[in-house]
């Protein structure tokens, strides 16, 4: 290889390496911007992910029913066919009942939250070990959804919309290191910010900037403060499981176990704030912590 060619290659390599550096510099803090190419790729990918997830779920359900049939056959030699049919129906009915129960809770939450909501379903999760993002399919109104909007489930806070492409969104979970949610400890009224614990193999969060004078204790419920206008007030975020009481400084930290089981997340609601939202509690006191 001649020296000129070598030098030219080096210049090209350096230029190519500079591209991701510049991208990273621009996106490290705020990663919600999508360009035309990003949108096109994500719009193609999201239906594929949804289709694949639905296909595997369907195969899994069939497999589960088949296994149930085999067990019934072994246990009840004389009534194989009848038992198998009944058990399969029972499994299907239980699954349907469980799912309906979840949806009923979601509907109750939807009725109690004085914001507009859009229902959505989880179709995929991130492939990186270090970030906690899920992809959802909105049932309607992708145009109404904007980055930063709150996403909730029947149990409580899920996270925020990170980016939107058509009727699909990426949701930054509360357990992601980039996430921060303004919260209140329900019992003491102490304010803090819940942030994700980076790279944990579980979905963990911690509450920061909680003043040392606040007597937070294990088991205390942490709810949204409502500040910022995206999250309704008093939505459960998690329960304190470990308080890190330091003998110095202004603040104390505490580990918070999210109330939402992110691994089992299926149906969620995206909260669309109304501009003329009246101030005041958005959930009746009886609903807090349920």
């Amino acid at each position: 290889m001649t020296l000129t060619r070598r030098a030219r290659e080096l210049v090209i390599v350096a230029t190519l390496l500079a591209i991701p550096v510049l991208f990273l510099r621009a996106n490290l803090a705020a990663s919600d911007h999508l360009n035309v190419v990003d949108r096109a790729i994500l719009r193609v990918s999201a239906p594929l992910q949804a289709g694949l997830t639905a296909l595997v779920r369907g195969i899994g359900n069939t497999w589960t029913r088949y296994i149930a049939l085999v067990h019934v056959k072994q246990d009840n030699a004389r009534l194989v066919d009848e038992n198998a049919r009944l058990r399969a129906e029972l499994v299907a009915a239980r699954n349907a009942a469980a799912r309906e129960g979840e949806l009923e809770k979601l509907l109750a939450l939807r009725a109690s939250v004085q914001f507009d909501t859009i229902s959505a379903r989880v179709i995929a999760v991130e492939t990186s070990a270090f970030f906690r993002v899920v992809r959802i399919r909105l049932d309607r109104g992708g145009d109404e959804v904007k980055p930063g909007m709150a996403v909730i489930a029947s149990a409580g806070v899920v996270g925020r919309v990170q980016r939107v492409f058509g009727n699909w969104c990426d949701v930054l979970l509360a357990a992601d290191p980039k996430s921060s949610i303004d919260v209140v400890v329900a019992r003491t009224g102490g304010r803090g910010v819940v942030k994700g614990i980076a790279g944990s193999d579980r979905y963990r969060t911690r509450i920061e900037y909680l003043e040392r004078k606040d007597e937070a204790a294990d088991g205390d419920l942490v709810v949204t403060s409502g500040l910022g206008g995206f999250f309704p007030r008093d939505l459960p975020v998690g329960k304190i499981v470990k308080v890190d009481k330091r003998g110095f400084g202004l603040y104390q930290d505490a580990e918070v176990q999210p109330v939402v089981e992110f691994g089992k997340l299926r149906d969620v609601l995206v909260v669309v704030p109304r501009e003329a939202q009246p101030a005041g509690p958005t959930l009746p006191p009886s609903e807090v912590g349920k």
Binding site: E9, P20, L52, V56, T127, A129, P177, A198, G199, D201
Partner: protein, 172 residues
Amino acid sequence: MSAQRAIVMILAVYVALVVTSSLQALSPWRIPTPEVALLVVLYLGLGGRGTAPGHLFVALVIGYLADLFAGSPKGLESLTLAVAMLLARAASSRLDVATPWHTMVIALVAAIAHGLLQLAISSSLYAGNASAALRLVPTTAVTTALIAPLAFRWLHRLDRRLTPDPARLRMS
């Protein structure tokens, strides 16, 4: 590297990312996800065929796709995979990748280095909690290493299909 080969490899990464992200959504637990994009980059880099800019461009495109699926800030995977590609190319003439064990060891070391580089670059996001993230590096690396021989064999088969059969060329 031919344009056809580059496109096929990029498509392979895309399909792998769609499949892994969808399957992960069905699991109630967090399963360490193998770094499929890194494995393809390693395979191409260790193969050593083609020019450095060509390889780097493919690594950047693969990294861009990985960023879209990883939930990471845009540019993070692109940058780390580009670095991995350059290192793999540089090491290609010195490394023996003859057996599945060799492949696993190389993938393990590369995945650890890749994870550490990602953590170092994005350390500003972790605000003192980097130790928890650090613990994930070995598990991801082991998962990546375990599937590396299979991935390399599959990529090799893809490569063979793309390469014209010399015997047929002689006949025509």
